[in-house]
């Protein structure tokens, strides 16, 4: 479904990704783990078009999408829930969600999407008229994910969704991710919380200083001695 071929990326001439190759099949949860600053976020930014790769190709459903502007990539069915929530805090919860459904043309579809996310996150329904900036951190994270779901994307890119959330909320969050996947969503998950991520993922990549150093089924990586030491703290 999504294929990265030897992708390299740089900020202001400083290279941070080196020849990243990565692939995602329909219906998979794939997670990328790695240290702070390894370049996980950068991978997602390159996929969603926020950063043009300096080399390499990206394919989504057999069409090349590197070089496309982000909105065009979003139009093809990739939703990026970025690091740090980035909700529109002056807008109400409902308006935030409507922005999520920006690409939907049909009024019925929008209604359905609303019903769907309110069903997943009932708390958002209660808060629908509230200015998003006044939500608690956890609620904001849920809103950010819900907003990403509104466009009914084929592929969901999640960047550290558990960041700053209370453990209870994190548990629920991973539950939601699993559920989404069961409903057929393909998910690329970037997480600091490697152990939790590996638990729900099918496959995983380990990123170190901009390079993929290990990859394979999540189960195998969980057993891998190096991974256990470096990322799972065992």
């Amino acid at each position: 479904m999504l294929v990265l071929e030897e992708v390299s990326a740089a900020y202001d001439g400083v290279q941070v990704l080196y020849d990243i190759s990565l692939r995602l099949e329909q219906g998979e949860i794939v997670c990328v783990i790695g240290a702070n600053g390894a370049g996980k976020t950068t991978i997602l930014r390159t996929i969603s078009g926020l950063l043009a790769p300096i080399a390499g190709r990206i394919w989504f459903e057999n069409t090349r999408i590197d070089r496309l502007p982000p909105h065009a990539i979003a139009r093809r069915g990739i939703a990026h829930v970025p690091e740090g929530r980035r909700i529109f805090d002056q807008l109400t919860v409902e308006e935030n969600l409507r922005m999520g459904a920006f690409l939907l043309q049909d009024w019925h579809q929008v209604r359905e999407a609303f019903d769907h996310v309110y069903q997943i996150f009932p708390i958002l329904f209660q808060r629908r008229g509230q200015r998003a900036g006044t939500l608690s951190g956890g609620e904001q994270q849920m809103l950010a994910i819900a907003r990403g779901l509104m466009s009914n994307p084929k592929l969901l890119l999640l960047d550290e969704p558990s960041l700053g959330l209370a453990p209870k909320v994190i548990d629920m969050l991973f539950e939601v991710i699993l559920n989404l996947n069961r409903l057929g969503r393909t998910i690329l998950l970037v997480e600091q919380n490697a152990s939790r991520a590996l638990e729900i993922a099918h496959r995983a990549y380990v990123l170190e200083v901009g390079r993929v150093t290990l990859s394979g089924p999540a189960r195998e990586l969980q057993e891998n001695e190096y991974v256990r030491r470096a990322y799972l703290g065992m």
Partner: protein, 290 residues
């Protein structure tokens, strides 16, 4: 008392017209952080366009309001990519580069108008010119009232559009986080161009009314640039609803200072209030600007 009321009415009526300029300008600033030095020149161009259309096609200038709106909408849409280039890319101070660019644009438009149309003073007459309504003891010039009504209606329509339409929500979202809006599928460049185009369209239309009310000449823009600046600072930069009280304040300030102090001190009073605002409430009267 009669004079007081008349002054009040004069001030409010002019304020209503200034709103139109302020709203587009403020939005343009709020969403794209572009301060358009050419705002007055768009007013001037709108006025001239109405003049030439009346000259060659006859009929009432008000008939051409929609035509002029779409004409300047198109022009703004076409110009925006240049502005975008000026404010993006690897420039040292993108926001200020935009300021300088529109500064150049203003000079270009003004010089072009002077060269093409000379220093003649033109005026257009509408079916409302010279008519007036009585409001108690005060006289309400019909044309001014039409301008006022237009200003208020255009602004209300515009605010409703921002509040309820899909693009409107996208515009407000973009004002907060452009990148996120882009990730959600908003073609931010196109929407920016659209915002800029709406601003030029609205301002061009305001120009028609202003041209009908006053006279039309190439140098008329400067004053409206002053007004637009004053209004956005007072409103709080980029805070669109603040434009309404700010514009009325400006209108009233003008009429009261002219009548009760002296017309010579009107602009000075405006500048003084601007300075005071920057000094004590830099984020606008309502403290909502950025």
């Amino acid at each position: 008392m009669e004079l007081f009321l008349q002054t009040l009415v004069d001030g409010l009526l002019i304020g209503g017209l200034i709103i139109v300029i302020g709203v587009g300008f403020s939005l343009c600033f709020g969403v794209m952080h572009i301060i358009d030095f050419a705002v007055g020149e768009w007013v001037m161009l709108g006025a001239y366009t109405a003049f030439w259309m009346v000259r060659y096609l006859g009929r009432d200038p008000f008939l051409y309001l929609p035509v002029i709106f779409f004409l300047y909408l198109a022009i703004g849409y076409l110009i925006y990519p240049l502005i975008h280039r000026a404010v993006s890319g690897r420039r040292h101070n993108p926001a200020l580069m935009g300021l300088v660019f529109t500064f150049g644009l203003a000079s270009l438009i003004k010089g072009g108008a002077l060269t093409a149309w000379g220093f003649h003073v033109r005026s257009v007459t509408t079916w409302l010119s010279g008519e007036s309504l009585a409001l108690g003891v005060a006289v309400v010039p019909a044309l001014r009232f039409a301008g006022f009504a237009f200003g208020v209606l255009a602004t209300v329509a515009f605010m409703l559009f921002l509040k309820w339409s899909k693009i409107g929500v996208a515009i407000r979202a973009m004002a907060q986080d452009r990148v996120m809006a882009e990730l959600l599928g908003v073609d931010t460049n196109r929407v920016s161009a659209l915002v800029y185009a709406m601003y030029t369209g609205l301002t061009g239309m305001a120009g028609v009314l202003i041209g009908a009310l006053f006279s039309i000449h190439a140098g008329m823009g400067l004053k409206y640039t002053t007004f637009a600046f004053f209004v956005v600072v007072l409103a709080g930069m980029g805070y669109v609803p603040g434009v309404i009280p700010a514009a009325f304040l400006l209108g009233l300030l003008q009429s009261f200072v002219t009548v009760y102090v002296s017309g010579r001190y009107t602009l000075l009073a405006v500048f003084f209030v601007l300075y005071l605002t920057l000094l004590v409430r830099p984020r606008g009267l309502l403290g909502r600007g950025w």
